[in-house]
């Protein structure tokens, strides 16, 4: 009973597929297949990955890695704030069960660095990443990024009612019709709250609370809630994953508004933990998720913006240069997370 169990697909289930694994390795191309670290990673057996990437997207990525290298990924998907809680809480109790950590709260990496919990590692090709995706200490790398937008249900919101600015959501006509994610769970909302506080002060959130906003947890839930028709519009929708893929389906009653006064732009760094129990597998995995192939897939099928400079974006994605991006400094996020959560609870009740 005292043994802990891995939450990943078991190797026994995949054994009959060994030829397929081999095919995958060959298909992945020479460099990665002959990677000298592969035997080490195989010996380590698996990589434990904590990520806030949308669940379906994460599962697809894991399947690709497992097929390519035959190394298991134990994936734990939850909200950014809960990832930090679980990883640090477990580590404090002496449990080392995290190799690669990816959250959408850049403040976390300031915090983890300060605690000495991040390993130094420069992934292959990282020198070509844009500055915003790089880390001076070579510990945390911007893996992916996404705008926070206003999802709305096209059957309930149309024409002149479509919100053009964040302040539009303060109109009393939105009472009981909005949904947003919780900063105690979703890291990107912490960034969003600070970004809009910079523009309008806390008064913005105090007034928004008067519209009795439905509170959900994940940054992907507002999109789903709006799609189901339960609420007309979302205050915080991650513009990738489900919101992007559902929007692409013909006839889906969902669209996304990019507010004119600025779009909070969320970076999701990836880092290897200093206490990683599977360091070689962790490095292999980190390189893998930063390859052009994988980054291109993330861009094409999930609508994610990525670090790799050679990736091209689908025609229906806005160019980043055309967006008025609101970016918050990681140090400020790290310093203000507690304050943000506390004030949010005071204003919104839970």
């Amino acid at each position: 009973m005292k043994r802990s169990r891995s939450a990943s697909s078991s190797s026994s289930a995949r054994k009959p597929l060994a030829p397929l694994v081999l095919l995958g390795v060959l298909a992945a191309g020479g460099a990665s297949a002959q990677d000298a670290r592969l035997p080490e990673a195989r010996r380590e057996g698996k990589v434990v990955w904590h990520t806030s990437l949308a669940l379906d997207s994460a599962q697809r990525l894991v399947a690709r890695f497992e097929q390519t290298y035959g190394v298991k990924v134990e994936v734990h998907r939850t909200g950014s704030e809960r990832i930090l809680q679980r990883v640090v809480q477990a580590y404090s109790a002496g449990i080392k069960n995290a190799d690669v950590v990816n959250t959408s709260d850049t403040g976390h990496y300031v915090f983890l660095k300060r605690k000495g919990l991040l390993a130094r590692y420069t992934p292959a090709g990282a020198e070509r990443f844009p500055a915003a995706f790089k880390d001076a200490d070579a510990m945390a790398w911007g893996w992916r990024a996404f705008p926070l937008v206003i999802p709305y249900n096209t059957r309930q919101v149309a024409g002149g009612d479509v919100p053009q600015t964040w302040r539009d959501l303060l109109d009393p006509k939105w009472k009981n019709r909005l949904v947003m994610s919780h900063p105690g769970y979703a890291g990107s909302v912490v960034t969003q709250i600070i970004a809009l506080e910079h523009l309008f002060g806390w008064d913005y959130w105090a007034q928004l609370a008067k519209n009795r906003v439905m509170l959900v947890q994940s940054i992907h839930d507002p999109g789903r809630t709006v799609l189901s028709g339960e609420r007309a519009a979302g205050v915080s929708g991650a513009d990738y994953g489900p919101l992007y893929t559902e929007r692409r389906k013909p006839g889906a009653p969902i669209a996304a508004a990019y507010p004119r006064d600025g779009v909070p732009f969320i970076f999701s760094p990836t880092a290897i933990m200093s206490f990683a129990p599977h360091p070689n597998a962790a490095r292999l995995f980190t390189d893998f998720i930063l390859t052009r192939e994988i980054q291109q897939i993330l861009a094409d099928s999930e609508g994610i913006y990525v670090a790799h400079p050679d990736v091209t974006y689908p025609a229906d994605r806005p160019k980043l240069s055309e967006l008025k991006m609101l970016v918050v400094d990681p140090d400020e996020i790290d310093k203000r997370t507690e304050e943000v959560k506390k004030r949010f609870v005071e204003l919104f009740g839970a």
Binding site: M1, Q85, S92, L215
Partner: protein
């Protein structure tokens, strides 16, 4: 059997060690941490949690919720118990089976289902209501306090029902008939004779329902948090957000613990006072009261309630499991098996959660049933001095709400010498502690039913105690022990309120995975796993009914 060895010694040592590990250590740590700070002993944590207006509101919400759930459970449970226990209402067997099903349905699944049924805009019932009436307003909004009370009461009223139905079994018809002969109407008899006789059971059913509502985590987390309010349990859970405020969580747990203990003490007093003539023996035959033309309206009312607890939620869960979009009508192009494929084959957390849950369920049920049986045997046969205390201790954990137990276990077992956190063992300890009272009560009933004279006959004929145990007692008690096993197993596989605090990413169970999926609003996968959980539960119930030859909520036909 001459022996120099006092056999009570090992019994007491084992019991004491178990008790320390299961209860005293966690509760002791809980109390200690609640008065600790970096500066030493302090009452500051209590001052903080009781002066913070936000936390005061959580306390008040819990009181409101528990009180109204208690009343609503009475309003539903009492008439239903009377109708099925005392009258000639048709379809009693079906009704009892459905109440049994409500009893074993995990309340958090009910809450999920009711989000899909009565979410103010996308909820199916509200859509139908709007379509029929043309109204802009919803029929009901589940994300409110009344909505929460409604859903919690749906799965708490069976406690009232079972309590009362069992008491009504014991009330002879003579008194009621005397009333009827003296000219009282059926309902006057019910109100002035049956009701007072059943009053202790009614109040104690009320207390049980209140206790359910106090300790519940899942339903408030699903229905109250979106509406922007907390209850004590959800608040304790959110104290664990980073950075964890364990001291405050501990301080906030103590009032919940005390309230539970007080209410149970009250209930025990009420039930212990059996000074009511006519209750307690099977002095006369029971004749069902004819309902006349009220039969059909009464039956309709009963089925309306059961539709809310069983038919509607199960239907919407099934629909969501097979639908591409749960909020859209189930037309042919909306039907899919992809949700099952995703849940069982793509989502990698599922498989291990199922294995963990089954492993914990089987181990806890086995250890729990053995412990409960041994304790019940020892106390019933008075094998050791102080056997009454053993029985009391086995029942004691019933006062600890799951969340509170979890906070205590978390504090006790995240530090040396016994670091169980991060392993399945800490969940095993939590489940065993939580389920021991239920298991003991069931095993106790079993051994009360095996009369000592059979064992004595064996002893007189020369068999030793062990041989008697093996050849006489064990076969007679077997079905009762299997039922105990099933009880514990059902309790374990649906457990959420302790698991949600004690799990780590590597030790997830099904209920926790369902809760994780809820964070992303993955209703389809939740429904698939929910149906799977229900299937496991009902398979166990069927097993239990087969070995017992009857259902376990009393009432023999």
């Amino acid at each position: 059997m001459p022996s120099t060895f006092d056999r009570s010694v090992p019994v007491w040592i084992i019991t004491a060690v178990t008790l320390v590990l299961l209860m005293i250590l966690p509760l002791g740590w809980l109390g200690w941490v609640s008065i600790s700070s970096e500066q030493g002993t302090t009452l500051a944590n209590y001052v903080h949690v009781f002066s913070d207006p936000h936390l005061q509101k959580a306390l008040w919400n819990t009181i409101v919720l528990a009180f109204w759930v208690g009343l609503a459970s009475l309003a539903v449970g009492v008439p239903m118990a009377w109708l099925t226990g005392r009258t000639d209402l048709p379809g009693k067997r079906v009704i009892r089976a459905l109440i049994l099903a409500s009893f074993v349905t995990p309340p958090f699944l009910g809450a999920f289902a009711w989000v899909m049924l009565a979410g103010p805009n996308a909820g199916l019932l509200n859509k139908i209501y709007r379509g029929v009436t043309g109204s802009d307003e919803p029929l009901m909004n589940i994300f409110t306090m009344p909505g929460l009370i409604f859903v919690v009461a749906l799965y708490s009223f069976p406690y009232v029902y079972i309590m009362i139905v069992n008491t009504l079994e014991l009330i002879a018809s003579d008194l009621e008939e005397a009333g009827a002969i003296l000219g009282a109407s059926r309902f006057r008899v019910a109100l002035t004779i049956t009701l007072p006789l059943a009053l202790p059971a009614i109040i104690s059913g009320f207390i049980l329902a209140v206790l359910q509502a106090l300790a519940l985590f899942g339903s408030p987390a699903i229905l109250a948090l979106p509406a922007g309010f907390h209850t004590i349990t959800t608040q304790i859970w959110s104290f664990f957000q980073y950075p964890p405020k364990v001291e405050q969580a501990a301080a906030f747990s103590i009032p919940l613990l005390l309230a539970t203990a007080l209410l149970l003490q009250l209930q025990k007093r009420l039930l212990g006072r059996r000074g009511y003539a006519g209750v307690g023996g099977k002095t006369g035959a029971r004749r069902p009261i004819p309902l006349g033309y009220w039969r059909w309206p009464a039956l309709a009312a009963v089925f309306a309630v059961l539709a809310c607890t069983i038919a509607l939620p199960y239907a919407i869960l099934t629909k969501a499991a097979f639908a591409k979009a749960w909020a859209q009508p189930l037309s042919w192009d909306n039907v899919t098996l992809a949700n099952f494929h995703f849940t069982f084959f793509e989502y990698s957390a599922t498989r291990d959660a199922i294995i963990n849950t089954l492993e914990l369920g089987i181990v806890t049920a086995t250890v729990g049933a053995i412990m409960a049986a041994l304790l019940a045997y020892v106390t019933n046969r008075r094998l050791v001095p102080g056997h009454q205390a053993l029985g009391f201790l086995a029942l004691a954990p019933v006062v600890i709400p799951g969340v509170v137990l979890a906070v205590g276990l978390f504090i006790a077992y995240t530090k040396p010498p016994l670091v169980l956190y991060g392993t399945l063992a800490i969940l095993f300890v939590a489940y065993l502690t939580k389920e021991l009272p239920v298991g003991y009560a069931q095993a106790d009933t079993t051994f009360k039913g095996v009369h000592p004279e059979l064992e004595e006959a064996g002893r007189i004929l020369g068999a030793g105690r062990l041989r008697v145990l093996r050849e006489i007692t064990a076969p007679l008690a077997r079905s009762g022990i299997i039922a105990t096993w099933c009880f514990v197993f059902i309790g374990v596989i649906r457990e959420l309120s302790a698991s949600i605090i004690l799990f780590t990413p590597a030790t997830k169970v099904i209920s926790v995975v369902i809760f994780d999926l809820k964070e992303e609003g993955q209703f389809a996968a939740i429904s698939v796993l929910g149906l799977f959980m229900l299937a496991m539960t009902f398979a166990t119930v069927l097993l239990m009914q087969t070995v017992l030859g009857r259902d376990f909520i009393g009432a023999k036909d």
